[in-house]
Symmetry: D2
Subunit: 257 residues, 4 copies
């Protein structure tokens, strides 16, 4: 009953800062998506196979065939959200509703796929000024928090603060506090259709957050938690007959008493 097959993870990166910003290149010489992919391989070993795709690829590397072979999609985007083709967003949306896991990272809060799944503005407060971020676990029994330090200490980080305009999450797992005083619901889950969505805010192109062992642990937990072993099929409208459950059992000893 326990998962027996390998989780197939696909890490998608916008790959813009890696090409255009010296700071990002220095922090992430293997790209942001490459760094996340390595975190999964390092932490999960044979439990996972990981691939990457970027905005630059054909169909952004997100063909029907590829998504069908993906258990969990990690999404990192920031300044090129608008460049993602609507038909690709449509395809990813369908796959999430049909059971694919989605891990939306950091500035993906404003990505087309995330806002479509949420139905809200997904706006927030922000500041880039070397805040210290502490990521606190508020749901210690949740699989996403398994083995995660209390708190995760991120010495320097972009600030994301409330009000974060997303629907009330299914599970609030992490809440961050920033040295500037703001707080943020930084780890939240949202079931959508047959899929599991996890939003996790720590991570930025200008800070080495994805090298942090505590953050990498959460990224690994996210693969195991969002991936499901189920047929890829979205919920659908069905008309049912009246007598679908018609049973006319004879009274039993219990009911007759």
């Amino acid at each position: 009953m326990t998962r027996t097959r390998t989780v197939r993870a696909l890490v998608w990166g916008e790959n813009h800062h890696e090409k255009n910003d010296a700071l990002t290149r220095r922090l992430y010489p293997d790209t942001i998506h490459g760094t996340i992919a390595a975190a999964l391989r390092d932490g999960l070993g044979h439990e996972v196979v990981v691939d990457t795709a970027t905005l630059d690829d054909d169909a952004h590397g997100l063909s029907e065939e590829r998504l069908a072979a993906t258990d969990v999609l990690y999404w990192w985007g920031h300044v090129r959200h608008d460049a993602v083709a609507d038909e690709v967003v449509e395809r990813v949306h369908h796959h999430v509703l049909a059971g694919m896991g989605l891990v939306a990272l950091h500035s993906a809060h404003l990505s087309k796929i995330f806002t479509r799944l949420m139905g809200t503005t997904c706006t927030l407060r922000w500041r880039q000024a070397d805040d210290r971020e502490l990521v606190w676990t508020v749901a210690p029994t949740h699989p996403l928090a398994h083995g995660v330090p209390q708190p995760i200490v991120i010495p320097r980080q972009e600030m994301y603060g409330e009000f974060f305009d997303v629907p009330q999450p299914d599970d609030l797992v992490f809440v961050s506090g920033f040295s500037g005083g703001e707080v943020f619901r930084s780890g939240m889950t949202f079931a959508r259709g047959h899929g599991r969505v996890f939003y996790f805010s720590p991570g930025d192109q200008d800070y080495p957050v994805y090298h942090h062992p505590g953050i990498r642990r959460v990224l690994c937990n996210a693969a195991l938690w969002t991936a499901q072993d189920r047929p890829r099929e979205a919920p659908r409208l069905t008309m049912r007959p009246l007598d679908e459950f018609a049973t006319a059992p004879a009274p039993t000893e219990a009911g007759g008493a």
Copy 2:
């Protein structure tokens, strides 16, 4: 602090069955939207002013000006969802996120505005075969359940059954059981942006559900609960300075102890 001004409700109807189906005309001689509007006036008296609008009106009766003067919008649609203009949906969506209440009724589960707010397929099981529906309150402290019979008994009704593909609600208020055996989460709330959304499934063009006193009571509760006394403004992205909360208080007796 208690609400002092009147709730401005707008009941929107697709107005298709009323024009095309003899049964609907007999059950709802004043139209479905007109019947709902009357339920609000009868139940809430001077606490509410109610108007109606339909698909047939200019801009479907949902201009910017009209929505700005609406505290809560009731939405009834069924077979003409696609005929609702995208720009009107966009406008309604914005107003919900900015604080307008939305009461999505029955087959509005597949309306453009509701599916956009949910981000899911909003599909379900259904059957039109004179099921008896019992509407059970599972959140007796919720304002939406105030004064509502336990259960509401609807002798004949269309069946809506699980799995209903919507996000996990903020509050699950009502759960229905049908004589065919199905169950349905029939009353659910969803905060979206600054707005409150209530989905309530009982009600159909082929059954006189909106004449039922228990159902009318819920419709009235919904006006009071979804309407808010707040400026009409959606959440938005804001960059904040680092020293916004900079305070350097001198130690006090308490802290120094």
Copy 3:
């Protein structure tokens, strides 16, 4: 349908620090419970009648008769939790389950009544060291947040931090951040039986928090939100007949189609 009668609030205070600590006496010359009572009177005027009771009173001022005439009970205790008689706790518990509102304040997280309602340890991190507390609204549509500044700035305050061992709340309304780096779910609601419970952490005997206009606003909102207009009766076990909802409706035009 809107509330027509006055909310009857009872503010209960342990009244220990007021008698024994010079600092508390200076900050709260009218006692802590007296200060809270005044905040309700000032903010709600004729919408509320407020009384107070303390540990020192007969039956701690919480007789059956008194509770029966109370719509919402505010509870402030700190170092004398054990001195509260079990039979009084039992009585308050019953009244909450039967529909009385309860507002548990600050160190009441470890009171007998609150831990009994929660079923958990209700433990947390803490520190008394002049932290600045910012109280952020994360549920802007909730009545408890109505008119509350974003954030409430409390210049000096005791720190309460996560993990706070309470059940997942129905509504997470406020999250606090402290200058030391900790975060805390500082405003949470919990329906229990027919009653509404609100836990609100800001407030301490060594800081003038209950004089803060933003905090007083929340205290007022809490009276209106936790008070219900319902018969005082707890849920109970009931055996029901099989044919309670037996109906044998004739087929209708709709179902026959």
Copy 4:
């Protein structure tokens, strides 16, 4: 990171009906707890080791040592709740808060341990009259629903109906409909302290429900979901220093920008 060790399950039975009622003996020749234990062994194989304990054993079979070696405790009781010693309840409560899983079955809704964890009356409607129960999955992505038929059809069963007076659950996984018309939230999760609690209502001493393959599947899922791989330790109050997270990082390129 995936669980590597075997889940240690302990199935506790009141063992009263098995000794006193001929019907129960005929339905459950191996006792109710023995039947549940066999379901776990059959369904989970080497992933689980299962033991049983009853009210009749010394300390009801629930010594400190035994609980310390238990990952998940299944609880079945009905007419002898009061015979369970308070000190044993206290011990089980502590272990749940410290991380042991608890699966409360059927009439365990009124057990001392469950009501203590909930803080409410845990009352409901009921009837013993051969209702058909359909158990519907309303959270298809939840591990507890993995591989479970939609719906589970139980031809004859005791009826449990709403309002079920428990706190709002973390996850509502199953909702049942009964042929008499009632509905019931029949599968719900509740994190308490460091432990995971699952309440699952189908199952009765007078019906062969625990032989049903769909029900057995849920019982197996429950072992894997409630068991955690964590040190057995309850949350506790801790005083923290002000400078616990004191860091004075030098400005970086990003923040200086």
